[in-house]
Amino acid sequence: MNEVKKYKNPFLRGAIAASFIAEKIQGHQTKTDIGAHSIFLGQVRADVINGKKVAAIEYSAYEEMAIEKMHAIREETFSKYALTCMHVWHSLGNVQAGEICLFVFTSAPHRKVATDACSELVERIKAELPVWGKELFEDETHQWKTNQ
């Protein structure tokens, strides 16, 4: 279990604030070999399902497995794409409709590498990380989210 410690932990409690995103962008302005940043943000939609509106999603994860898997995805992505930087944050716990639950951030000298890597990361995160979303309706009932 101690080995997990050395891996980056992509999880944050609650929503991802716009100010946090700004801070991470700002932090890359000293890296003057970067020419392109690609950012993906997942935002919780207030979907209406059978007449009931989603108020929030409550995320849970098998954190130890997810951290290891995210590490493997990170290594594979760095091998495949000539990226300068790659960062992923995913919310755990409650995220209200309109708030941000996923922040994927890739940077490279040129744009195609950054955008291709970002898109692939988003697909892999949704398909491969053991994370679950519970859609909480306004009437306090819920259903388990399914990814498309």
């Binding site: 997942g42 995320y59 849970s60 994860a61 098998y62 130890e64 497995m65 290891e68 995913h90 639950c101 996923l102 988003v122 995160i125 949704k126 398909a127 491969e128 990380l129 053991p130 994370v131 679950w132 979303g133 519970k134 388990w144 989210k145 399914t146 990814n147």
Partner: protein, 82 residues
């Protein structure tokens, strides 16, 4: 290790499985994942109709897998992160 007597497997359940049954349990004296699933379904019949994948020590498995002592098995419904 092939100590069967007193062998303990930790089982973690997630998402709708945790909700329907329990977030974790300990199962004693099962030899492989097929036996483990039979045992779990006896305790929580609701799980027998639910779909999930199984991870043994954080690795997804696709066929019956032998368990040794102090193994952690996780029952994982379809992922829905992001």
């Amino acid at each position: 290790m092939n100590i069967i007597d007193g062998m303990k497997t930790k089982v973690l359940l997630f998402g709708q499985l945790a909700e329907a049954a329990a977030p974790e349990m300990e199962i004693f004296d099962v030899r492989d994942t097929d036996q483990l699933v039979q045992e779990i379904n006896k305790r929580f019949p609701v799980l027998s109709s639910m779909h999930y994948r199984i991870a043994v020590n954080k690795n997804l498995i696709t066929e019956n897998t032998t368990l040794t002592n102090a193994t952690t098995v996780a029952l994982l419904p379809a992922f829905s992160g992001g």
